[in-house]
């Protein structure tokens, strides 16, 4: 689909469309839920669209927008620290059985559902337990397989900081998985 390069709106949308699956995936891993991922992505897209005139044509759009989303994510977690949120895992008030709220999984493919239950959910739970900066760097390095240089550019810190922060994130994640007695972590 050809896009008029002078039409910012159409160009922006076409660039996002090329990376939207990965963008959503990263947003989900950062935020930990679909609702929060959509909020994060929405905020990031607004920021990116308003700053689109700063984007240099011909450079990597995905790195540029990941950078914006990373900053949006970290800024957002600082605000959330001041607010109290009701966790979906907390028992419903008046529910004497103490069962947590449950949202039915609409995924019909059993292999996907099994993958989610046995891998994605416990690992995402461990990710969610990490401080935001550690979660972000682990997602960029170990989920999205970005290099130290790419991560350094994205989050705006030296490679040495990437290395040390990544180690601390891994150590903390490992501790979470050991504590939850996740398979092969004893």
């Amino acid at each position: 689909m050809s896009v008029d390069p002078t039409d910012d709106s159409a160009l922006f949308e076409s660039l996002v469309a090329r990376h939207q699956d990965r963008l959503y995936r990263v947003a989900y891993r950062m935020a930990g839920s679909h609702d929060e991922a959509q909020d994060l992505l929405q905020d990031a897209l607004v920021e990116a669209y308003q700053a689109f005139h700063h984007f240099r044509r011909g450079t990597y759009f995905d790195k540029w927008i990941y950078k914006i989303m990373s900053h949006t994510f970290i800024d957002g977690t600082r605000v959330k620290k001041r607010l109290r949120f009701e966790s979906l895992d907390d028992p419903v008030a008046g529910d004497e059985t103490g069962s947590a709220r449950e949202i039915p999984d609409s995924e019909s493919d059993p292999s996907v559902r099994m993958m989610r239950e046995e891998l994605a959910e416990p690992v995402q739970d461990a990710l969610n337990a990490l401080p935001p900066e550690f979660r972000l760097i682990l997602i960029l390095a170990d989920v999205e397989e970005m290099s130290y240089e790419e991560i350094s550019e994205m989050i705006g810190c030296p490679i040495g900081t990437v290395r040390s922060r990544l180690h601390r994130a891994r150590a903390q994640m490992r501790a979470c998985l050991i504590k939850s007695k996740y398979r092969d972590f004893n």
Binding site: E13, R25, V46, Q50, D75, E145, R174, I178, F185
Partner: protein, 196 residues
Amino acid sequence: MNGGCGKIREEVLSAYVDGMADGATLRAIAAHLLDCDACKALVADFRHQQGLLRQLKAEPLSAPPEFWANAYRVARLSKSRGSQSARPRFGFSWSVPQFAGIALAAVVGAVIGSQVQFGRVDITSVPVSRQAGPSLDVSTLVRAHADYASQQPLADNAHLTMVLSDASAQGSPSDGLLAADAPTLGSVMNASATSD
């Protein structure tokens, strides 16, 4: 939690998993791992964990179909509204002008507060004294406060509330407080409210 043996820093072992070390360091670590079970187990855990995280990419995740169209619409709207809808980088959901207005109000309030504290501004025509409760003329205080509040919109209404509650607690007469010619607390608050 068991870590390595300590002879090689864990951070170096973590970087080793990514191949992020010079050739000599990589060879030295590889040699160490042949003889050190603790470091070998730690590296194995880091690799295993990395493998689990990489598998997350395989989980099919996608936004609801209407998400992207809505997101673009919101982005275009926010840009067309200009700076009012821009989110400042410090993460609040207020717009920059709103935040600037509140910050300005806080500064002005602090200045007025300091003026009152140091006695440069007498906001009541009658000295307030807790010991002189029974003789307190509340209607005079309300009238004086209303006059002041109309001139100084950021006047401390909490002060008036405190004075009124003190007066009622000590049984002072409320004559004139509800009279037609006396301003009510509500009208004082409304008169001093800043309109947008």
